[in-house]
């Protein structure tokens, strides 16, 4: 029984440790945007069609003044977004960033 509990806790900790989105979220909350971006890029490998991840990436690139990368991220967000609200948000960012380039 003790072994089972130990294995469960270890598995849970291992899983959290190896989830890039969790790390990205933590880094973002701490204001470490570049660090967060690194983990978001890792997260994309696991979820290449998740529009939420591209949205987060777009916001992070904008926060650190990387408009070209932000534009690319928002275009991908638009491509994979499933809700009209997110499509609107992506379109507004694409329009704004395109004018600035």
């Amino acid at each position: 029984m003790k072994k089972l509990i130990f294995i469960s806790i270890f598995s849970l900790l291992y899983a959290i440790e190896h989830q890039p989105l969790v790390k990205a979220s933590a880094a973002l909350k701490a204001g470490m945007y570049k660090e967060a971006l690194r983990h978001v890029t890792d997260a994309q490998k696991d979820a290449p069609t998740n529009s939420d991840v591209y949205r987060m990436q777009g916001l992070l690139h904008e926060a650190i003044d990387e408009p070209e990368q932000a534009l690319r991220a928002w275009k991908r967000c638009l491509k994979f977004s499933k809700t009209q609200e997110m499509k609107n948000e992506a379109n507004i960012h694409i329009q704004s960033l395109s004018e600035g380039l």
């Binding site: 969790v22 979220s25 973002l28 998740n50 949205r55 916001l59 904008e62 926060a63 507004i92 004018e99």
Partner: protein
């Protein structure tokens, strides 16, 4: 056929984005100045009106206008040598720096394969014969998918309605609404208002 389709899509996209309302009979080439009226605070943030107005004048200056602030409560944007004067009013419709974004995610454990190779050899001194043996075992873990977790982060959202009136007649000559999202409130306000200023600049060019 393809070209016509692309032109149609372009205009459709542009018309959807550009939600401005404009008095097409008004002569925007005969303008002297644009006065920015005081802006009421949003209920979420005291002094937000003054902050938005400061960022607005900053953007007018940044994008090539002369800004005159002899009266701090009514900054003037110098437009040209015309005769008409305009008033710009701004209503903050949305101002939040704690809009919670939730990303549901799934953790994919891709499993692993562990191969153990045991190799032993025995060589006796003085003898050429030697014995060796090797065994290998493979253990495959299939992995699994855990779903149902989520992460959260907060973002800022800013929304404004900008309106331009003719100062003498009081008629509304232009209006539009803008909103933007970002990670930092001040930067989000800045970009939101930048989009407004760039559109207003097109009226006078």
């Amino acid at each position: 056929m393809n070209k016509s389709y692309l032109i149609f899509v372009f205009f459709l996209t542009f018309s959807c984005w550009s939600g401005q309302a404009i008095n097409t009979t008004y002569n925007f080439n005969n303008i002297q100045s644009l006065e920015i009226e005081s802006i009421e605070d949003h209920s979420n943030l005291p002094s937000s009106g003054e902050m938005v107005r400061s960022i607005l004048t900053h953007n007018f200056l940044k994008y090539g206008f002369d800004v005159i602030e002899t009266d701090i409560d009514a900054p003037l944007i110098d437009i040209g040598s015309g005769e008409q004067n305009l008033k710009l009013s701004c209503i903050i419709t949305e101002l939040t720096d704690s809009d919670v974004i939730v990303i549901p995610y799934r953790y994919e454990d891709r499993g692993y394969t562990k191969t153990t190779l045991n190799q032993t050899s025995e060589t006796e001194k003085g003898k050429e014969d030697s014995e060796s043996s090797a065994t290998s075992s493979t253990e495959t873990h299939s992995g699994g998918i855990t779903q149902g977790s989520r992460i959260e982060y907060t973002q800022s959202r800013v929304g404004v309605i900008l309106k331009i009136h003719d100062k003498n007649s009081g008629s509304l000559v232009w209006s539009n609404s803008f909103w933007y999202s970002g990670l930092e409130l001040q930067k989000t306000i800045d970009i939101c208002l930048k989009n407004g200023v760039l559109q207003i600049r097109k009226l006078f060019s």
